[in-house]
């Protein structure tokens, strides 16, 4: 009984504290992950200051050229206008729709909310093709309608202009604003507002003195996010933008890289500028969200905050909100679908005898490479989503549970890719691996690496918030009940996080499948993916085929979502 006479019990072997394998393994994984997200930034910076490939003489010429070369200067100005315009539009629509659908008595608020989020599942390419179909100056449906009304050729709207580009991007970014802001509006603590009312604040004063200030961190975070996304957006500048000769930095980076003679140094310098802006935004966004912690009040009582009565404006605002919500997904989707069945697309093609299934037959069975690229896309999306989720579990465990010495560094590093536009990340990854002979350049592996690097932040956010929600007592109880670390993760954590894991996996799958900017510089003919193929079809200019092709992308993305929807949870905070 005395401790002095105690023996080590059979079965409880000596376990020295110096070796905890899970710690070692996770630390190594975390270290590799930090390298993975950091080197592209470094490589882009070094490349921007190198005359030739990395290792050659240093120079400022590329950086100077970004501002001095007339094309680059023009692109810079355009990018600023485009970013400012589309961010403002997205904020206006996102905040407006969020407020109307959660805090007012507007009819159909919930439905409009769901509609607003829908574009996240729809590839932005659909939006592009759809809006070209609707607002092309010649054959756009809206202009055909205008001509019919007017009796003569009339062009009301033209998508191939800066306002047109801003309109599409604003619509595309609206759901991200909505997502960040609506939750705050919905969960705001009723008692705080009641306190303001009792203290004599009228409805309007309540809005600008309590409700909006409480949402300030979320609003700022949303604004910074859409600025990053707009400045780095590739698809719209590289399709409609290039066609209209409105040059922007992301599309110019692509051209400097892929057209001959290429100017990769200038592309790197342009990328560096985008990365600098992106990382700055990320820094301020993190700060806003961290300060937001002060404002987050977890109200114990689930009293619903009061709804603002809209009075006479109830129905007009409802119709307007519905129209905007439809413009971002359903209307362009309908336009794309209708074009897909047309023999050709011109102002006078809207006739029954022009209906055909030929486009489907051609794209699905005759178009070269469609099945190779579909196969590559599916393979990469499945593998990429799985890698992201598994890596996110390991990293989340390291940061949240193990609280390793570098947990803070790892946590911050895993946010960096959010601030790096896809095209710039592509430049960084390419510039390094092109130098490694026999490396992964030119294989599917480099695409996989790019996908995982770009999307690990979102996966981390999902898995991290799910892990945060699991009380450590549940794990401790399992340990005391005789399960080792690995068994505890398998039997307690994974089952409890399952909805969030499935949700994040589906999201990863969908976004990887649609990703273009990231891989446009990294693929080669044998590793072509569906989304990149879209760019080829776009340049061919045959819209009915383009429509079918983009629908194929949509359907492939929606299959697993439809299968696993009910097992998933998509909330990420």
């Amino acid at each position: 009984m005395t401790p002095a006479g105690a023996v080590v019990a059979p079965g409880s072997t000596f376990v020295t504290r110096s070796i905890a394998w899970e710690r070692v393994i996770l630390s190594v994984v975390a270290g590799i992950a930090v390298l993975m997200v950091c080197y592209p930034v470094v490589v882009v910076a070094v490349r921007a200051f190198s005359k030739g490939e990395i290792g050659s003489a240093l120079t400022f010429e590329w950086l100077v050229a970004v501002f001095e070369s007339s094309r680059s200067h023009e692109a810079l100005v355009n990018t600023v206008i485009y970013t400012a315009g589309s961010s403002c539009l997205a904020m206006l629509l996102g905040v407006g729709l969020a407020f109307l659908s959660t805090r007012t008595d507007m009819p159909g608020g919930r439905f409009i909310g769901i509609l607003t989020m829908l574009p996240m599942l729809v590839p932005p390419f659909i939006l592009v093709v759809g809006w070209v179909a609707l607002a092309d100056p010649n054959a756009g449906f809206i202009n055909i309608l205008a001509s019919a009304i007017n009796g003569s050729r009339t062009s009301w709207v033209n998508i191939s202009t800066m306002p047109g580009l801003i309109w599409m991007t604003g619509l595309f970014l609206t759901p991200y604003v909505y997502l960040l802001v609506a939750a705050g509006f919905k969960n705001s603590d009723a008692s705080m507002e009641e306190a303001a009312r009792v203290s004599g604040a009228g409805r309007l004063r309540l809005l600008h003195s309590v409700i909006l200030p409480l949402q300030r961190p979320a609003l700022l975070a949303a604004l910074l996010l859409v600025i990053i996304m707009a400045a780095g957006d590739f698809i719209i500048p590289a399709t409609v933008g290039l066609k209209a000769r409105i040059y922007m930095l992301p599309s110019l980076i692509w051209q400097n890289h892929s057209s001959l003679p290429g100017r990769p140094g200038l592309a790197a310098a342009q990328s560096l500028l985008l990365v600098a802006v992106g990382l700055l935004c990320i820094y301020f966004q993190r700060r806003a969200l961290a300060r937001g912690g002060r404002y987050t009040i977890v109200g114990g009582k689930g009293a619903r905050p009061m709804l603002f009565p809209l009075g006479k404006l109830r129905y007009p605002l409802g119709v307007l909100a519905l129209l905007f919500a439809l413009s971002s997904s359903v209307i362009p989707l309908l336009a794309v679908t209708s074009i897909a069945f047309m023999r050709y697309w011109s102002p006078y093609a809207l006739k029954p005898e022009n209906l055909t299934l030929r486009n489907f037959k051609y794209v699905l069975f005759e178009y070269p490479q469609v099945w190779l690229s579909a196969q590559n896309s599916m393979l990469l999306a499945l593998a990429g989503a799985t890698c992201c989720v598994v890596l996110a579990i390991a990293l989340a465990w390291y940061v949240i549970r193990m609280r390793g010495r570098f947990a803070g560094v790892v946590e911050y590093a895993m946010v960096l890719p959010l601030g790096i536009p896809g095209i710039a990340l592509g430049v960084g990854i390419l510039s390094l691996w092109i130098l490694v002979p026999g490396g992964i350049y030119g294989t599917l592996w480099i695409l996989l690496l790019a996908y995982v690097t770009a999307h690990i932040p979102v996966a981390m956010q999902f898995v991290g918030s799910a892990l945060h929600r699991i009380h450590t007592d549940l794990e401790d109880a399992s340990r005391v009940a005789g399960q080792a670390w690995s068994g505890t993760i398998r039997r307690v954590d994974i089952p409890l996080m399952r909805p969030a894991l499935i949700g994040s996996w589906l999201l990863m799958y969908v976004v990887i499948l649609r990703e273009i900017s990231l891989v446009i510089l990294l693929y080669n003919p044998s590793t072509v993916v569906l989304s990149v193929g879209l760019m080829d079809v776009w340049s061919s200019g045959f819209y009915p085929e383009l429509a079918v092709y983009s629908l194929l992308l949509l359907v492939l993305g929606l299959i697993p979502v439809a299968l696993f929807w009910k097992f998933a949870r998509f909330s990420s905070e």
């Binding site: 023996v7 009940a481 307690v492 409890l496």
Partner: protein, 383 residues
């Protein structure tokens, strides 16, 4: 609802046999040290204690006193900086010998404040989890789980999910899970503080009944003095990582050693004073209410030493008196509490509480004379 817990177990037939055998063992802790954070906040400072087999030892203290650190160190959920822990003659932690047996191999049971029941498993799966982990066959695990369910009064509810149970039922499941694998000791981490007052009262009595049925070794952490003195075979009052007092519940409640202990077990009247004379455990202390004859656990007082006098606000401490030595004071306020009325009296600038069973509330300003009950007050060490 529950044969054992409702006290019907005395019936000769039909009473379920407790599925916990007398396998529990002793726990011994030596020289435990633990500090947290970069500032090195000391949570445990050379903590040593034996937890005898079959006894319930309650660690009592305010939050931050290190009681939970002791418990989690025994469980293996945290690794102390130094020390040695032996469970049932097996060394599970020894900083010098670099031994640190992980929690899953310490064969303990634990009841958490949050219950820590797994929401994705049903009640039976929660209870059988330790058995499955220990490699018990499915059939035996099922049979032992059923027996445990019966014993904790949840027979037939094994298929339910945790969120379908009431707080008290969840607490029982948590207890069943802790006991089912016949652990060497059961650790309780403030298991009742999440319950509302009435349920807490009931669960406290149920726990007492369970312990009488199956006297397992328990280490029980709480900040509630009532829980401590009802459930404990021995109470350990802790403060700032050290033991302040160890004793039977009666010792701790009636004979606190220090001003801190007296305050913690809820003695409101703590009067500063000076030892006038001492003989053995009997001392006379000069206080604001005059010379008080008090008892003490110490015998080495020297006249002139500073101390405090602890007196409960009742006949067993400070009371209203008309005797000649009583000190006059004035009522500040009178608080009706249902079972008694507390009068707060100002005596020469010192607040003294008196308790009476009267329903009458006194008027503030009313004159009252107070005096200590001889022999019922204690001289305690100042902090």
């Amino acid at each position: 609802m529950n044969a054992v817990l409702e006290g019907k177990s005395a019936a000769p037939s039909g009473a379920p046999v407790p599925p916990v055998s007398g396998e529990s063992g002793s726990v011994s802790v030596r020289g435990l040290r633990m500090s947290y954070g970069s500032q090195g906040v000391v949570a445990l400072d050379d903590f040593s204690l034996d937890f005898p087999a079959g006894h319930c030892t309650v660690l009592l203290g305010p939050s931050g006193c290190g009681k939970t650190t002791v418990l989690r160190s025994i469980a293996g959920l945290i690794t102390p900086d130094a020390g040695r822990i032996v469970i049932d003659n097996a060394v599970v932690f020894d900083s010098a010998a670099r031994i640190d047996v992980p929690p899953e191999r310490r064969r303990l049971g634990m009841v958490f404040q949050s219950y820590a029941l797994w929401p994705h498993l049903c009640v039976a799966e929660n209870i059988s989890y330790p058995l499955i982990s220990a490699g018990v066959s499915k059939a035996e695990a099922a049979q032992r789980t059923t027996a445990m369910l019966e014993w904790i009064g949840l027979g037939g509810m094994g298929g339910r999910f945790v969120h379908e149970l009431s707080g008290g039922q969840q607490q029982r499941v948590s207890l069943g899970r802790a006991m089912v694998a016949k652990p060497r000791a059961i650790l309780f981490d403030e298991p009742l503080s999440n319950l509302d007052a009435r349920l807490r009262e009931r669960m406290r009595l149920e726990l007492l009944a369970l312990r009488q049925q199956a006297p397992f070794t328990s280490v029980y952490v709480t900040h509630d003095q009532l829980e401590a003195i009802t459930l404990a075979d021995r109470v350990v009052v802790m403060r700032a990582g050290k033991i302040e007092q160890v004793g039977s519940p009666e010792d701790v409640y009636r004979r606190p050693r220090t001003r801190f202990c007296a305050d913690f077990v809820g003695i409101p009247n703590l009067l500063e004073g000076t030892i006038r004379s001492a003989s053995g455990t009997d001392v006379v202390v000069e206080t604001v209410v005059g010379a008080v004859a008090a008892r003490s656990w110490r015998t080495d007082w020297t006249p002139g030493a500073k101390c405090s006098v602890a007196a409960r606000p009742s006949l067993l401490g400070m009371r209203e008196s008309t005797a000649s030595g009583a000190r006059p004071g004035r009522v500040i306020r009178s608080i009706y509490q249902g079972t008694s009325t507390i009068d707060m009296v100002d005596v020469d600038g010192v607040n003294i509480s008196l308790e009476s069973i009267s329903d009458e509330r006194r008027v503030p300003g009313e004159a009252v004379a107070v005096a200590p009950t001889p022999g019922a007050v204690f001289a305690v060490l100042d902090d």
